[in-house]
């Protein structure tokens, strides 16, 4: 007994996370903060994607031939939804979560109560996923409202958004677990998020890329999201839907586990 290192969670740093009901008060905390600024953030969630979609879709799109017989604005809609979800999850789980973790020390306060670190980590991931869902849905509503698409298959998109949200929230929280300061997130955005957006088929089909890049691009976590959402916007059933769902789910699961482990290493030293 005296030779063995005794850990707070009972498991090692790399053990599977075991969150519980303690997630709920943490989610409620974040919700209470959000409620205070809800109006402005909702405005941003709707206005930003609408302006981008209109400017690029109609403005730039009017100069372009259709892609595979689809108007550019319709092609871009799926990319916008996924990109909106990606950025919302990423910002929330990097800058905002890191601020609560490192600047405000809200996590320290939580850990002095019966909450476990797994509770806090899961709540942050779910919260960022919820904000991601909200952004994705806002763009989806714009797409439907402007009659860019009103396919019945749009109704499947929220399910995909839930998976996208968790995956990118957890990936971003991995970065927060590694970060020493806000500057660190520049690396993630510049070297990770932005290239991924350009390589995953948000603005143009992946097939336009050089062959060598096409194969690599399919491995990016955003690629399966777009492979699922784009056909749904166009009113079609995606090809190999379960393969894409599986890829997203595996990314999410691995990132959740890694985020939990790295947070334990960071905070429960």
């Amino acid at each position: 007994m005296s030779e063995q290192v005794m850990r707070p969670s009972g498991a090692g740093i790399w053990g599977l996370p075991r969150p519980g009901r303690g997630c709920i008060p943490v989610l409620r905390r974040n919700f209470l903060v959000w409620r205070k600024t809800a109006l402005t953030t909702i405005l941003g969630d709707v206005m930003d994607p609408m302006v981008a979609l209109l400017a690029l879709g109609y403005g730039l799109g009017s100069l372009l031939p259709g892609i595979d017989g689809v108007p550019y604005v319709t092609f871009l809609a799926a990319g916008s939804i996924c990109m909106g979800a990606l950025y919302a999850a990423t910002f929330e789980a990097t800058y905002s979560a890191f601020s609560r973790l490192h600047i405000q020390r809200s996590w320290d306060a939580m850990l002095n109560t019966p909450l476990s670190l797994d509770d806090v980590v899961f709540a942050e991931i779910l919260w960022a996923a919820a904000k991601s869902m909200k952004s994705g849905l806002a763009i989806l509503l714009v797409v439907a409202a402007l009659d860019i698409s009103r396919a019945v298959t749009l109704l499947w998109i929220p399910l995909v958004l839930a998976l996208i949200g968790v995956a990118f929230a957890a990936l971003a929280l991995v970065m927060s677990a590694l970060a020493k300061g806000f500057d660190f997130f520049m690396y993630y955005f510049t070297l990770g998020v932005t290239p991924m957006v350009f390589l995953s088929g948000v603005f143009f089909p992946v097939s336009q890329l050089p062959d060598a890049l096409v194969q690599a691009a399919r491995l990016l976590p955003l690629a399966p999201a777009i492979e699922l959402v784009r056909p749904l916007v166009l009113g079609r059933v995606p090809d190999h839907p379960w393969a894409h769902v599986l890829q997203l789910a595996a990314t999410a699961a691995a990132a959740v586990w890694l985020a939990s482990a790295l947070m334990r290493r960071r905070l429960l030293r």
Partner: protein, 359 residues
Amino acid sequence: MLRSLRSGQSLFSFASIRKTLRVSSRGGGRGAPGYYSAMTTNALHAGAKPVAFPGSGPALRVERLDKRYGGRAIVDGLSFQIARGECYGLLGPNGAGKTTTLRSVLGLTPIDGGVIRLLDHDVPAQARQARARIGVVPQMDNLDPDFTVEENLLVFGRYFGLADAEIRRRIPGLLEFASLESKRTARINELSGGMKRRLTLARALVNDPDLIVMDEPTTGLDPQARHLIWERLKTLLGRGKTILLTTHFMDEAERLCDRLGLVDHGRMIAEGAPQELIARHVEPEVVEVFGDDAFAWLERHRAAMPGRVEVSGETVYCYTAEPERVLSYLRDGGRLRYLHRPANLEDLFLRIAGRDLRE
């Protein structure tokens, strides 16, 4: 209400009722937190007798605690025990292992050896159950800047699984305790340092804890704010709470603590009641001599000086049981100033830990 409790007499009767209520309300589960009820029934039960504290063992038992970082021992075989209702102070220089000890006790860090038993729970295995009965005042304020004073208490209470209605019932009493009634809807950045500290203390009481753990509770506060915190801590002790605090302020330790553990390099180097520790390890009186001629004066009288002499900076410290002799040597003139005082914890601490700067 609180004002009337500040005298020793009413405090005592208050404490008795507190204990009575706590025992009688145990069957009722989480509801009816003792001291809120006590506030309203104080007058009715003024003659209540003290009753034993709930729980069987000591509030905290730490045995041979080891904690290493990268092969370096931060806590090295530390053992101590805190009785229920006691105020225990861990005293030591920066880097002595105080904060690491607290983190270990709260189950927030893996330990490399030893036994921790906290409010009848094994730590770290059952740390979360134990933390449900503990209030923590951290070294750095981590109040939620996004919320008002009241919301901070509400949100924190939820972390303990308390229902909103229950927390809202407790908030007025907590605000009164922290003298923050008028700041209920103020945001955190509108509060002074002392107010923030009091709110952090009130927040630590939201779960009506049995043990309050405080890491340097008054560091960075001005004297008025410190005295107010001390007074509140004494009120809590009067209510039967157990307190574990760390500090490097000797006056704080001497004033508040029933017992002290002096820690250095992660080891317990002395333990006991403040006055008893001083009596055991230091000469009873101190004459501090300073001024331009202090060193010359020391050279003239060193051989005949009773007791022990230490020089630090520009000051000569004469620790002695015969201060009159030292004082008589001071009459031979020169540019000297002196201070004659009883020995205190600081003398004890410097005696044991040395005068070297720890950085």
